[in-house]
Amino acid sequence: MAKRHSRDLELTIISAESLSLAGNCRVKKNPFVVIKIESNADQTTTTDTENNNSNPTWNQKFFINIPMNVRFFTLEVRCKKFSGDRIVGSARVPTSDFEGHYFPMNYLHFLSYRLRDRNGERNGIINISIKMMKNDQRVLLTHGVAVGVPLHVRY
């Protein structure tokens, strides 16, 4: 099942900061994050119900698999609306930020990215952590099903 030409990583969506919905209006509608990797099914965090504001925290861990030829993945912060989901902001995460040739395996990277809305305007920051997994640490990836296990990261 595990593909040979790919890498596995443990991705934790920690939190986002200073999100806003159109203008200065605060985000009130349960923001959540969608992880998009080319040629894989999307994975989604659950909505953040505790912190219903512009600084949501999720602390949810995912095991994701990225084909060798893919150089980045995308994170989208979305909100539930009557008319479906709305993208609040998105960020591209280049794999080179955590794959540099000198990083040891299992190094815990803390990374933050600027989120931009559809018009390319700045809209908050997303904080994540990433750990590359050694091959023998591979977990069985259940394709197509979200495997978000809520986990409290202490930092």
Partner: protein, 595 residues
Amino acid sequence: MGGCFSDVKGGQAAVGGGGEVHNLRLQRGLSRNVATASSSGTVQNDAVDFFFRSKGLLPLYTRIELNLSASKLRDYDIMSKSDPMAVVYAQKKDGTLEELGRTEVIMNNLNPMWIQKIDVVFHFEIVQPMVFQVYDVDTKYHNLPTKMLELKDQDFLGEASCVLSEIVTLRSRSITLKLRNRNGQSVGNLGSITVHAEEIIASRTAIEMRLRCSNLDNKDRFSKSDPFLRISRIAETGGSVPICQTEVVNNNLDPVWKPLCLSTQQYGSKENPLVIECFDFNSSGNHILIGKLQTSIGVLEKLYQEKAGANFVIPSSRHRDHEKVLKGKLFVDGFYEKELYSFLDYISSGFELNFMVAVDFTASNGDPQKPDSLHYIDPSGRFNAYQQAIMEVGEVIQFYDSDKRFPAWGFGGKMYNGPVSHCFNLNGNVGSFEVEGVQGIMAAYQSALHTVSLHGPTLFGQIVNQAAEIAAQSLSQNSSKYFVLLIITDGVLSDLQETKDALVRASDLPLSILIVGVGNADFKTMEILDADNGQRLESSTGRIATRDNVQFVPIRDVHRGEISMVQGLLEELPGQFLTYVRSRDMKPLPINLPH
């Protein structure tokens, strides 16, 4: 009066609950070393302390924290009340004052109870005169960190002095002193300051909690309340000591606050009674009590386990000793006990700080042959600004570096018969950039001045990347090293964006960058790199620095300044180290006492 909104923000920030208190306390640890290294004062050296403790001897001193409050202060603001901040000094034998710490600024309050505690070392055998000064901080400075405030720009509200042992020997451990003018005379009533002393408990346990409320009463007429919580501990000697205050959540009757962290030092024991008060924030300083409740850490833990809420009460206005139970409730959404290791815990267990230096060889420094050059080597042996910075910082850091081999580079210089290089080895050796000891850096620097001609422009990108690569490589061999790159420069940066990109990448690595500015150039770009104003650095690709790992100090401030250059440069380093190791859940190494 309009446009004051941004100023209110400073007053709405949280105090004492985000762990920054611990950082401050830890920073002291290093500053103390700095003090001994630079002025060889009477201050206790932590290294000496370790030596004693490893031999089972306890030196004769106790660490004490001072809790300050004042009453009936003078009112200097016309439209509102004074915004007081207290500063604590130790008076040295020659009468000069050494600053020990500052409280936060409390807005519009003539009877402030400060939350930020001041750490002092109590020596049993030495008379330690202390001076307490109170200032009214102008509204336009409210968003600056208090340590960056220039005290001479603030209104002086009065000062008082006493000897530390006076406070410690009192049964209540509290002393109230009348404030007087600077020249010692008391003109009219300037109010008084109360100092309460408590011994610091050596415990590393801390509790992290997430608090929220529901159904709070509305105290604002046109919008909803702007609630914040203040947690106070009931002291053994009676009275309550405020220990932490959350940030203000605007216009919300069901507020959720950011996690707050209380150390054993702050809350005492799990049974120690605490008072939690919920206020409606008012920019006039007249915060309205929404409700309060008496509890303890033990009770809060229970609330968390049972997912239950505790009702707020409010003292009844008609009957004394009668309290009205309110609908508003307090909930505990998260409760974790954790160990907070200090900077010294890591260092003493074998973590190392590895020192690296980069020296500016751009032409703006002036011809090294001429006495007005920043690179002029004085035959009399007096240090130029570069030598001074290398010596002072190196002397402190080398102490934490076991092999004392330091990478040393130059940038912006032109090699003999070669191109301009933005990262060349200071020792002129192609194969190796390491030199032996601080003396080795000094020697390499002097010889490089003969072989390298000054050129330009000023680029940091390559230097920072080189340091980052070394830091990253060490990760694969040994994860107990933290790197400190010292860049000494005179000039305006030409590659701001490239430097930012390099610094953002470095924020994910065990690396801090200290920048010393020499000469009289405009250092505005350096202030941008040192993200002290809360703006995180952003790279051209949209990546953002995960932590602040840059510190900039212009050396010209040293001469007029109240703290030494090294102190200003190094004081954030323990905090930066701790954010790195704590976020990765790295623990001090298992103790192996050397034989």
